[in-house]
Amino acid sequence: MNCLDAETLAAWFDGGLSGAALEDVRSHVATCARCQALVGAMGRTRSAVPAPQLERHPRWWLAWTVPAAAAATALVIWIAVPHQTNVAVNPSPAPALQKEEASPQSTLPPAPAQPESAAPAAAPATPARQTRAKAEAAPPAATPQAANDALQQAPASLNETVSVRSAAAPPAAAERRDEAERQGAVAGQLQARAAFRNNLCGPMWPAPPSEVAAQVTAGSSPSTAVCWIVGRAGTVLRSTDRRTWQRLTFPLTADLTSVTATDAQSASVVTADGRTFLTVDGGVTWIQR
């Protein structure tokens, strides 16, 4: 077989060869210095090709799971941890509740209506707190299903306590519980959103500047040293040193919903109304596609 021409080489790299033609190419390259050098040159140009969208979509597509999982976790924690308010106002405690009242935790003041996961109070290690500590120490639940699994690992008596209390709680306690639940879920979502904003480029990247942190919506990190972030009102940030963020000028004040960067100079962004803009000079100029 003769040396590979460019078209055959490209077809080999893109999986366009099969059967005898593919085997011929492989056996030829195994013993041909020039064709091996071609393969090496192709390998060196890999950075020229933008990362396929397929690899980016799941990250963005699954981004909703972050706040969802956090909210589910907050809800699980709220359910798993007994709220003293319920105990205090319950006129006729059920057997399981009596068991809880016998624990040191029953002497604590009513739980504040704030997210339990945000600032865990120092308290004696009761079974319930142990459960919460376990829930907090466990790896973050990646999905609501994982959160449910974590809930199922709670002691049976705890589940029993929750169910009994839910049935016996008077309307006022139920309202407080609903309010606490709502606030807990909202706080969990806010925390998750903050975590999402701070991890647009990955866990080891610095958070965006505080003045624009609330506006960012998407990020793209084409290499270990480069990351682009976009957000509302034409916000475009870029970091090329993993330490500092540079604010780039964008010609519009439109909200930007996604960014796909290929390197420190080239990126395309999409506005909320679906327009795509491209830069190949590090954000100095933008061209609408």
Binding site: E7, A10, G15, L22, R34, Q36, V39, R44, L278, R289
Partner: protein
């Protein structure tokens, strides 16, 4: 190889070739050229083939689209091949040929346009380098034979022993590599000599990167075992001497270059080592 008109029509629509005002007949001709190259028409990069046909036909929108989408790829590839900018002229040359439309006829859709452009550039870059190397003088024989100054290290064998060890191992490795199946040689060449990633190497060989990694480990073990066997059986070295030889070779491999061995073509597989000299010393 004539293409069925219904199939050509279906692929034409699938490629949305009408965007670039490509006549069906012209697109069918491109398909025929691909079929002649053994392409599976169902798996062609039809979008890119339609764009190439549009550019070749002189459609301005197609050309603008091509410039916007592909020219950055071409120049980024040139910079990746030569960060000093030495490959930019090659990219310019390719761009010029594309502008004159002559080059598009060699694109058959078996790959994406981006990969094809990288391949065209890689081919010209490698050929230019090889042409340049042919004009360079050969290295001084004595310097090459000595393998350069030995590096400092814990191995305390004298220069004579070190040289001998390197020669023995080079000889054994050359033979071991030459006896490897073609597929294993290719895997070694892609991964070690050409520094492709495991995923890229696996893709070229049609295997998963984990499989590729396992095969590489197995091949390394095979080579090591074969070298040890040759040193033990043919040169009657003891286990300690074999270990010393490996130590010396790893400290200072000298001419021991796997890249060179893997690039040797079948008719040049014979060792470059003067075996009579090795035997004499043994």
């Amino acid at each position: 190889m004539p293409i069925d008109a219904t199939l050509a029509r279906r692929l034409y629509l699938k490629a949305r070739a009408e965007r670039w005002r490509v006549p069906l007949e012209r697109f069918a001709e491109a398909l025929e050229r691909g079929a002649e190259r053994g392409a599976n028409l169902e798996t062609l990069h039809l979008d890119d083939l339609a764009l190439a046909c549009g550019c070749a036909a002189g459609d301005e929108e197609a050309w603008e689209h091509f410039i916007r989408e592909q020219r950055p790829t071409l120049y980024r590839a040139a910079d990746a091949l030569d960060p000093g900018g030495g490959a930019r002229d090659l990219a310019d040359g390719i761009y010029g040929e594309l502008f004159e439309r002559s080059l598009f006829r060699y694109f058959h859709g078996r790959s994406s346009l981006a990969t094809w452009l990288r391949a065209v550039l890689a081919q010209r870059h490698v050929d230019r380098l090889r042409a340049g190397q042919r004009l360079e003088p050969l290295p001084d024989d004595e310097l090459a034979a000595s393998g350069g100054p030995a590096k400092a290290g814990p191995y305390e064998a004298g220069p004579y022993e070190s040289d001998r060890c390197r020669e023995l191992i080079r000889d054994a490795l050359t033979r071991a590599v030459s006896e490897l199946p073609s597929r294993e040689r290719l895997r070694l060449a892609c991964y070690y000599a050409q520094e492709l990633t495991l995923a890229e190497t696996g893709k070229l060989l049609g295997e998963h990167e984990a499989t590729c990694s396992r095969h590489l480990a197995r091949t390394r073990k095979t080579l090591r075992g074969e070298i040890e066997r040759q040193l033990r059986e043919q040169h009657t070295l003891s286990a300690a001497e074999i270990a010393d030889c490996f130590g010396a070779a790893s400290q200072d491999p000298g001419e021991l270059d796997l890249r060179q061995l893997l690039r040797m073509e079948p008719d040049r597989k014979e060792s470059r080592v003067d075996r009579s000299r090795v035997r004499g010393r043994t």
